[in-house]
């Protein structure tokens, strides 16, 4: 480890060797983050491809599954929810589930009782 750089305002900049920070902030390394980003980009490409290719009845489920997979991947790894305290997961997913439940019910109501 070497501490050799200053940015001119009194803040120290530490440069650690790759071995020292191999385990990143919450157990993932920078290389793993890049790999996850590549996977997310590939899933986005697949989504766009699906919208141009006629794949029949699996079109909608495939898009929804890809969307959920991307969503969960970002939340779990980029937002560190997979590695963090479970109370954070509860806070977030409770809001999310409540939102999905409320609006699915609302849309269903409009669907069945709307003019």
């Amino acid at each position: 480890m070497s501490v050799d750089t200053h940015d001119g305002h009194g803040s120290e900049v530490e440069d650690l060797s790759a071995d020292e920070y191999g385990e990143g902030h919450h157990g993932a390394t920078d290389k793993q983050y890049i790999l996850i980003a590549v996977i997310l980009a590939a899933m986005t490409g697949l989504e766009v491809t699906l919208s141009y290719v006629d794949v029949g009845p699996i079109f909608l489920p495939a898009l929804i599954i890809l969307m959920i997979a991307k969503f969960v991947t970002v939340v779990s790894y980029f937002m560190h929810l997979k590695f963090d305290n479970r109370i954070f997961s509860m806070m977030f997913y409770m809001g999310l589930i409540l939102a999905v439940f409320v609006y699915v019910v609302a849309l269903s109501t409009f669907h069945f009782f709307g003019s």
Binding site: S11, E14, T44, V48, K70, M79, H80, F88, F92, V100
Partner: protein
């Protein structure tokens, strides 16, 4: 009376359970029982008069009660203030805020889904959207999430120079996304799709506009953060602020993941 500091004595065990909550069971070494034990040992004769206080072991030091103020001032591993739950209050508040934001965007997305068929024939979603352009915008925002997580990773290692670099790149990618959105809105307007043209256009502009405002707020926070780091105000124990802004930025990204699929890719 106290053997806590006696060499060879059994070291005190971690009296926490679950998420750091103290275990208040019938453990004889628990603070409550230690105090009771101490009261029993106070000699009869009442309270001593004025004068130097006798050196009485109250049991508080042994039980760690006197350390409470110092302990509460400590910070957790991410630099946030430690709380009785053992987790950062700031981070908990941010997650709570993001959970409530799900309700906001859920309402806007639902409104769009409800009204996306309410338009004049030639200015509907299937005619007006430019999927290749929006796909590139989505890719840009997705990559900004990568640069943001690299910034958080850098600050966790104490590398402030790389943190500033990644934060600046994140802000630039965000600005590119917002620029693309402004271009898209301008194009739609020139084609005749204004905010009040139809229920479809109103719900579309409201939904994507709200998201764009969130991205813009995120860019402002990122640039403010870069300025704070440059002035040396985000060091060591305050590094958690980078993670908090990162959480906000990733949330903006996941909202767009949903919007891109439900609004742009699924035909009306």
């Amino acid at each position: 009376m106290s053997d806590a500091g006696t060499p060879g004595a059994t070291p005190p065990e971690d009296k926490t359970s679950g998420h750091g909550a103290p275990d208040l069971g019938n453990d004889p070494s628990s603070p409550g029982n230690a105090l009771t034990e101490t009261i029993d040992e106070i000699p009869m004769g009442g309270i001593p008069g004025p004068g130097p206080a006798p050196d009485v072991d109250t049991g508080a030091e042994r039980s760690g009660l006197t350390d409470m103020p110092e302990e509460s001032a400590e910070r957790d591993e991410h630099g946030g203030h430690a709380s009785t739950t053992g987790i950062s209050n700031n981070k908990l508040a941010m997650w709570l805020f993001l959970g409530s934001e799900c309700l906001l965007f859920g309402g806007l997305i639902s409104t769009y889904m409800l009204y996306r068929g309410r338009h004049s024939g030639s200015l509907g979603p299937d005619q007006i959207y430019d999927i290749p352009f929006t796909s590139v915008s989505s890719f840009v925002l997705l990559m900004s999430s990568l640069t943001m997580v690299l910034a958080v990773s850098s600050v966790a290692r104490g590398n402030l120079r790389n943190t500033k670099l990644w934060l600046t790149i994140t802000a630039l990618l965000g600005a590119t996304f917002v620029g693309g959105q402004v271009y898209e809105f301008t194009t739609f307007y020139r084609e005749g799709l204004g905010f009040t043209t139809s229920l479809f256009s109103s719900s579309f502009f409201t939904l994507t506009g709200f998201h764009g405002v969130h991205v813009t707020v995120g860019i402002i926070m990122l640039m403010a953060l870069v300025g704070m780091i440059s002035r040396g105000r985000v060091t060591g124990d305050r590094a958690e602020v980078v993670e908090l802004i990162g959480l906000y930025w990733h949330f903006v990204d996941i909202v767009w993941i949903v919007i891109f699929t439900l609004v742009y890719l699924i035909p009306a």
